[in-house]
C-alpha cells in the first residue's frame, strides 16, 4: 500500500462535522483547496451530513421562533456578509489568504515563521513556516500533534517526501526534522498543539524560538 499524504478518514469526518479545532480545520481546508480529489470526497461527506440533518426527528420550536427570526431580518435588512479582505499574501490558497497574518520572524537558521490569526482553542495555534532550500527545521518533538500542509516547495523526513498539497500528521512520539529538498524555499502551514521541544544543539535557542 502506498503512503497517502492525506488526512485520515477520521480526521476528514471530524472536519466535516466541525469538531476539529479551528487551526486544524484551516490546515485540512488548505489541503482540500490544493487536492480536488480529496475535496470531492469531503463534499460527499457533507452530503452525508446534510442527509443526517434531514433525517433527524424534528424538535419542536417555540411558538414565536419564526416571528422572532423575521424581526431580526428586519433589523439587519438581510445584508449579505462581505468576505474579509485579502491579506498581504494573496498567492496563498483561499482558506489562508483572508486570515490576518503576523510579522515574519526568525526561528532558527534558514527558518522563518509568521502567525496566522484563527480562532484559538486551547494551546493549538496556526503558523506559516518558510524554510530555505537545503535547510532543516530544528530537530524537535511535540507535546501534542502537529498537522502540516505544504503550500509550495517540498520537504522530506527520513524516508518520505512531501510536496505541494501534501498533508502530514506528526504526533508526540516523532522526533521530527524535515529537510527542504526543493530548489525553492518550502512554505507550509502548520497547526501546532502543545509546546515544541527543540532537540540537540538547537536547545540553546529554546528561550528565543517561540513557535
Amino acid at each position: 500500500m502506498t503512503l497517502r499524504h492525506s488526512p485520515s478518514e477520521e480526521r476528514l469526518l471530524a472536519y466535516v462535522a466541525g469538531t476539529l479545532s479551528p487551526p486544524e480545520a484551516v490546515v485540512v481546508a488548505t489541503h482540500l483547496a490544493m487536492r480536488p480529489d480529496a475535496d470531492r470526497w469531503v463534499k460527499r461527506l457533507q452530503q452525508v451530513g446534510g442527509q443526517v440533518l434531514d433525517d433527524l426527528e424534528p424538535a419542536s420550536m417555540g411558538g414565536d421562533a419564526l416571528s422572532r427570526t423575521l424581526a431580526r431580518i428586519d433589523v439587519d435588512a438581510g445584508e449579505a456578509v462581505a468576505p474579509p479582505p485579502l491579506n498581504d499574501m494573496p498567492e496563498l490558497p483561499e482558506p489562508l489568504r483572508r486570515l490576518p497574518l503576523g510579522k515574519w520572524r526568525w526561528a532558527g537558521p534558514g527558518v522563518e515563521v509568521r502567525h496566522i490569526e484563527a480562532p484559538r482553542e486551547g494551546a493549538t495555534r496556526l503558523i506559516l513556516l518558510r524554510i530555505a532550500p537545503g535547510q532543516s527545521t530544528p530537530k524537535h518533538t511535540h507535546e501534542g500533534a502537529e498537522l502540516t500542509c505544504v503550500i509550495s516547495g517540498a520537504y522530506a523526513t527520513d524516508e518520505v517526501r512531501y510536496e505541494a498539497g501534501d498533508f502530514e500528521e506528526a504526533d508526540e512520539d516523532v522526533l521530527h526534522q524535515p529537510r527542504v529538498v526543493s530548489k525553492e524555499p518550502c512554505l507550509c502551514v502548520a497547526a501546532l498543539d502543545g509546546e515544541i521541544q527543540l532537540g540537540g544543539w538547537m536547545r540553546v535557542f529554546q528561550p528565543f524560538v517561540k513557535l
Binding site: 471530524a14 457533507q46 438581510g78
Partner: protein, 193 residues
C-alpha cells in the same frame, strides 16, 4: 407551537425556496424553509448536548444566516440540506470556539471561486446516491456515523453513550467510511487510508 414540517418534502422544492429567498427576498419561502429546517437544526444541536434554549437560539441564528447567504446557494453544487448543514456546522464551530477578537472562521466556498467543470456535474443528483449509500450501512455502522456528526469528541463520547469499547467504535466508523467510499467513489482506489 410551530407546526412540525411535513415529513416528505421534495428536494427540489427546498432548493427552490432558497432561490426564492435569494432572488425575491421571499418571506413566505423563508417561512416554509424555516418550518422544515429550524426544528431539525434544533434537534441537531440538542443531540450534541446543548440545552433546549441554546438549541432554539442556534436554529434561529442558523436560519438567519441562510437568509443572509441565500445568494451563495447553488443547487447544482449541493442540495438544500447539504448547504444548510455546512452553515450549521460553521456556526457551531464559531459559537463553541469564538474568541472575542478573533476573525470569523469561514471555510465555505466563496462565490468568486472559479467553479471547476467536474463539480458542476455533481450535487443534486448525488443526493440520491448518498441516501442509498447510507441505507446500505448496517444499523450499528449507521448509528456511529450519525453520532460522529453531533459529538465533539466523537470516539470517546460514542463509546460512552453506547457502552462500547473505544476500539469497537473506531472500527465501526472505519468500516462505515470504507463502505461509503466503495459506494460513492467507485472509480477511485482511495479507500485505503
Amino acid at each position: 407551537m410551530v407546526r412540525p414540517a411535513r415529513m416528505s418534502s421534495g428536494r427540489e422544492d427546498l432548493d427552490r425556496l432558497i432561490v426564492a429567498i435569494a432572488v425575491d427576498r421571499d418571506r413566505e419561502a423563508f417561512a416554509a424553509l424555516f418550518a422544515h429546517f429550524a426544528p431539525r437544526l434544533k434537534a441537531y444541536l440538542m443531540r450534541s448536548g446543548a440545552t433546549d434554549a441554546a438549541a432554539e437560539e442556534f436554529a434561529q441564528d442558523a436560519m438567519l444566516t441562510v437568509w443572509r447567504k441565500a445568494d451563495l446557494f447553488d443547487g447544482a453544487r449541493a442540495g438544500a440540506a447539504t448547504w444548510i448543514f455546512t452553515i450549521a456546522r460553521n456556526r457551531r464551530l464559531d459559537a463553541l470556539r469564538r474568541e472575542a477578537r478573533a476573525p470569523q472562521l469561514e471555510l465555505a466556498p466563496r462565490p468568486e471561486d472559479p467553479e471547476r467543470p467536474d463539480q458542476l456535474l455533481e450535487g443534486a443528483e448525488d443526493a440520491e446516491r448518498v441516501r442509498h449509500a447510507m441505507k446500505s450501512l448496517n444499523p450499528d455502522q449507521a448509528e456511529v456515523l450519525r453520532l460522529s456528526f453531533f459529538l465533539d469528541q466523537p470516539h470517546s463520547e460514542i463509546a460512552e453513550r453506547l457502552g462500547l469499547p473505544l476500539g469497537t467504535v473506531k472500527s465501526r466508523i472505519r468500516k462505515a467510511m470504507i463502505k461509503l467510499r466503495v459506494i460513492l467513489q467507485p472509480s477511485s482506489g482511495e479507500g485505503l487510508a
